[in-house]
């Protein structure tokens, strides 16, 4: 490992700080913006200060390496006193004129929520004033940054979308898939699996093209792709909804809404990382459709098991730190558990109230009690790790300095990936995603050993 420059600030062990030091989370409007970009022809609009839109754009661009236009209603001091209604309406006018979107997804901010802006009312007033015009769909999600993380914002946006657009009707053969915040490559893999099953589906959101597109011949105001609005309308007629993320069970999500309002049965599964969780997902598809698992996936599964066995001795008993969004950490921990790695520290910046059970329930092979903590931050994680023996870190780019300080490899997954190219193309789900993760983790451990060794083996 390279020489690290010793920073002159101290590390304080096991002290509970009031402040958040190096946050392990982002805020709600970011999640909402990404989700809204997964709707076809939809432009996100953040109702608040200009800084929110700009910083969120920067952050998202740096991961996806794609342009993302997120508008702002540009609060001024006037708006803070008299309300942001005028600004919001001006923003809608300008947005619609310039982008001609099919939909506008409005996410609120801590600012607009604190002053008590009634965005629903503003939208109604706006519509009334434009009775003779064809307006885009206007969806509004309450996403103040002082409530939850970017994941809460993501789920709120999806729920608001479904509430605004889904309609009932005669039951169809359609399947609703709510994948949560996965990579563009994950979304493509899910679509491939669903197509191979011969399923009619609505995947919401689908930013696999809008946030991971081709090089352009002509300028695109709003990049092509996304879940068609018409498909969202049909979600009320689907035969079932599958949502990924066990923490969502019992919460008022889009899936719960569809079940309550349109009697579309909701199924909550874990994010399909690992053989166990992917099996559960594919079993659910089989149950719903009555179709057999296409042979292609039998073979992928078979190769994956073969790979697990080929690699088992490199990973057995190795100790990993995992951090990120609550459900994603639970999925990764469960996967690490099934290959013999001990997730000694599982951390999230989220505050679900059920993180411990969430993670614990996926651990069947742990011989030692892992440290599972939510509402934590990276500084606390580093301090905790000083007292743990750690071999590997699995998480996003913001954990790089953990890896550097501990002298331990970081296998980059999730969001954001800001210090590598291709973050949006990391595949995590399905047998194929699991295969790629497995190869990367095993090889990271092998590489660490190879570099450390004085011998310089070229044959492992």
């Amino acid at each position: 490992m390279k020489e690290t420059k010793e920073s002159s600030y101290p590390e304080i062990s096991s002290q509970n700080f009031t402040a958040t030091r190096n946050a392990c989370k982002l805020c709600a409007p970011l999640g909402a913006s990404v989700a809204f970009r997964g709707l076809e022809g939809c432009i996100p609009l953040i109702h608040g200060s200009q800084g929110c839109s700009t910083y969120i754009r920067r952050y998202v661009i740096s991961h996806f390496k794609e342009p993302i236009d997120i508008a702002s209603s540009n609060f001024s001091e006037q708006s803070a006193i008299f309300g942001g209604g005028d600004n919001l309406k001006t923003a809608l006018d300008n947005l619609i004129r310039q982008y001609r979107p099919e939909a506008v997804g409005i996410a609120t901010t801590c600012l607009s929520e604190t002053i008590g802006d009634d965005v629903g009312m503003y939208i109604n007033e706006y519509r009334k004033g434009k009775k003779d015009e064809i307006l885009p769909a206007i969806i509004h999600a309450p996403t103040p940054s002082y409530r939850g993380t970017h994941l809460e914002g993501f789920h709120e946006a999806i729920k608001a979308t479904v509430k605004a657009l889904a309609a009932g009707g005669p039951r169809g053969r359609n399947l609703n898939i709510l994948p949560g915040f996965l990579s563009a490559e994950d979304l493509r893999q899910l679509k491939e699996i669903l197509s191979d099953f011969g399923l009619a589906y609505t995947l919401l959101p689908d930013y696999s093209e809008t946030l991971d597109g081709e090089s352009w011949a002509d300028y695109q105001k709003l990049s092509a792709g996304g879940t068609p609005l018409k498909a969202i309308k049909d979600m009320g007629r689907a035969q079932a909804t599958i949502q990924f993320g066990r923490s969502l069970s019992g919460l008022e999500t889009a899936a719960a809404f569809l079940e309550e309002k349109f009697k579309v049965p909701a199924m909550t599964l874990g994010i399909p990382v690992g053989i166990r969780e992917t099996d559960r997902f594919l079993d659910a598809l089989r149950d719903v459709t009555g179709l057999a698992l296409p042979q292609k996936y039998e073979k992928e599964r078979g190769r994956l098991i073969d790979a697990y066995i080929d690699g088992h001795k490199y990973v057995f008993g190795k100790r990993a730190v995992v951090y990120g969004e609550a459900d994603f950490v639970a999925a990764l921990a469960s996967w690490l558990d099934e290959i013999g790695i001990v997730p000694v520290l599982c951390a999230t910046g989220a505050c679900t109230g059920k993180f411990k059970e969430l993670v614990r329930s996926g651990l069947k092979n742990c011989r030692e009690e892992p440290l599972i903590g939510e509402d934590t931050d990276f500084a606390s994680m580093l301090e905790t790790c000083r007292n743990l023996k750690v071999d590997l870190i699995v998480g996003h780019s913001k954990g790089y300095f953990l890896s550097r300080k501990l002298g331990v490899p970081l296998v980059r997954v999730g969001f954001p990936i800001h210090d590598r190219i291709g973050g949006q193309r990391i595949l995590h789900v399905g047998y194929r995603g699991t295969q790629q993760l497995f190869d990367r983790v095993v090889n990271a451990l092998i590489e660490a050993g190879q570099e450390r060794s004085a011998v310089g083996y070229s044959y492992i």
Binding site: T18, A19, S49, G51, S76, L95, C110, S145, S215, W216
Partner: protein, 469 residues
């Protein structure tokens, strides 16, 4: 075809296509819904203050503002790196309802005791005033108890634009300056204002001044230290780069301590040389002047041949510039000329009327000058003007890449120095390596432009033949 919004028409000007004295509007809040590239007041303050490496920077508000700005900048430090940590009071719903002062007090006290900074800056974000937190009072209390300056920064996002953030930062800095006031002045000494030591550029610039025989009292705020900033009133001259952000502080120091200031830029050969010469001229010391001449001559002789080699290949290309501060835009227009590259579009987020007048003067006919632009406008201008290269930041880069246009990252994330003479070489290399990459052969936008151009050329040729026959 992108249409410019009615309320933005006065912020776009094309030289030669309109009357010279047509009023050009700038320095106004961004239009709602226009997808401006500007950030907020907090952004302005943070940009100026964060490089102070031995101070504690605590953001008071919900977590987003701190999370999105954690270590995103290439501001280097030769010692402590407190500025690379991200501290937030991470306000939750209960604090929004009941107030966050208690949390702020606890957070500040714990952090100061643990990290022993020389000073603390507390940044107020959007909702702080609205929930009734008296940040000033909490800061004063903690200062009394902890014995270090605890300085509130009035950086609520919506209170204005980025420029108001700069102003808030300058006011905060001035508090430190004042603490060290009244000390005897130092001979042949300057403060470097408005360089943030991105990729070590402050070190580069300091070295030039050292070779000239000039003492640098403090850098505000590149590789910044609280004690150093306290000493700044001892300098004989303030050399201000990024005048948008720091002129305010320079003016305050002139008023209180009689320290004059000069606006300079360290981008490009001409402007770097002029920056050094203007300091030498100010002190009117023959030894300093001689050393400056020698330094400039040596450096220019060193880099000029390579710049000329680049020029041979890049001559005739057309560039677009969109940066935060307009002062940088001036330097870039000139630097590009050294490479034989014309500026077809130039704009900034925060330029003032004098800046844009100057741009009008130094630009060629046909150049589009724009204030506070957005992706739709920028892409339209780039296509109309057939631009080969865009110089900008993170939010401009994907626009260029999607449209098959080369890019130079002239932004705060840069890891390569672009200032000074060495920086000019790096600039040339970066521009060259982007423009000359073979990957563009595959770009659909480029192919389309090339085939359209061929159709144009063929038609033109046919018309010529018709005329001649």
């Amino acid at each position: 075809m992108v249409e410019i919004l009615k309320d933005r028409k006065k912020q776009v000007f094309q030289k030669g296509a309109e009357k010279e004295d047509r009023s050009f509007v700038c320095e106004k809040p961004s239009l709602a819904g226009s997808v401006s590239q500007r950030a907020c007041v907090f952004c302005g303050s943070r940009v100026v203050l964060y490089p102070i490496a031995d101070a504690l920077h605590l953001v008071h508000g919900p977590v987003g503002c701190a999370a999105y700005t954690w270590d995103i900048r290439g501001s280097l430090s030769s010692g402590p790196e407190l500025h690379r940590l991200s501290f937030s009071t991470d306000l939750r719903e209960e604090e929004v309802i009941y107030g966050g002062e208690k949390k702020l007090y606890a957070a500040l006290t714990e952090l100061i005791k643990a990290y022993t900074p020389k000073a603390a800056f507390v940044y107020a974000t959007c909702i702080i005033g609205l929930i009734g937190d008296d940040v000033q009072a909490v800061c004063k209390k903690v200062e009394g108890e902890q014995g270090i300056p605890v300085i509130p920064v009035h950086s609520e996002g919506f209170r204005g634009t980025k420029k108001d953030g700069y102003k808030a930062a300058c006011e905060a800095l001035f508090r430190l300056v004042v603490e060290g006031g009244g000390q005897p002045g130092l001979p042949l000494s300057i403060n470097i204002l408005g360089d943030f030591n991105l990729a070590g550029e402050t070190w580069l610039i300091k070295e030039y001044y050292r070779q000239m025989g000039i003492q640098v009292v403090s850098c505000i705020t590149g590789d910044g230290r609280v004690d150093e900033i306290r000493q700044s009133s001892r300098a004989g001259l303030n050399v201000v780069q990024c005048s948008g952000s720091m002129t305010q502080l320079a003016k305050m120091m002139e008023e209180s301590y009689g320290i004059p200031f000069k606006r300079v830029s360290y981008f490009g050969i001409e402007d770097t040389a002029e920056a050094l010469y203007s300091v030498a001229r100010h002190f009117n010391d023959p030894k300093v002047m001689r050393k400056t001449e020698e330094l400039v001559r040596t450096e220019v002789q060193r880099i000029y041949p390579e710049v000329q080699r680049f020029r041979k290949v890049l001559e005739g290309k057309r560039a677009a510039i969109y940066v935060g501060g307009s002062f940088k835009a001036f330097s870039l227009v000139k630097a590009l000329r050294h490479l034989g590259i014309g500026t077809a579009i130039v704009g900034s987020q925060t330029g003032n009327p004098e800046d844009y007048e100057y741009l009008k003067e130094i630009c060629d006919e046909g150049t589009i000058i724009v204030d506070d632009t957005n992706p739709l406008e920028l892409s339209r201008f780039m296509m109309e003007q057939e631009v080969d290269l865009l110089i900008g930041g993170v939010k401009e880069r994907p626009i260029a890449y999607k449209m098959g246009v080369a890019f130079c990252d002239h932004n705060h994330e840069r890891k390569t120095a672009l200032a000074g003479f060495e920086g000019m070489l790096n600039f040339c290399r970066e521009v060259y390596s982007s423009l000359m990459s073979p990957v563009w052969q595959f770009s659909p936008a480029r192919q389309k432009r090339a085939s359209l151009r061929k159709v144009e050329d063929d038609r033109h040729e046919r018309d010529q033949r018709v005329v001649l026959s």
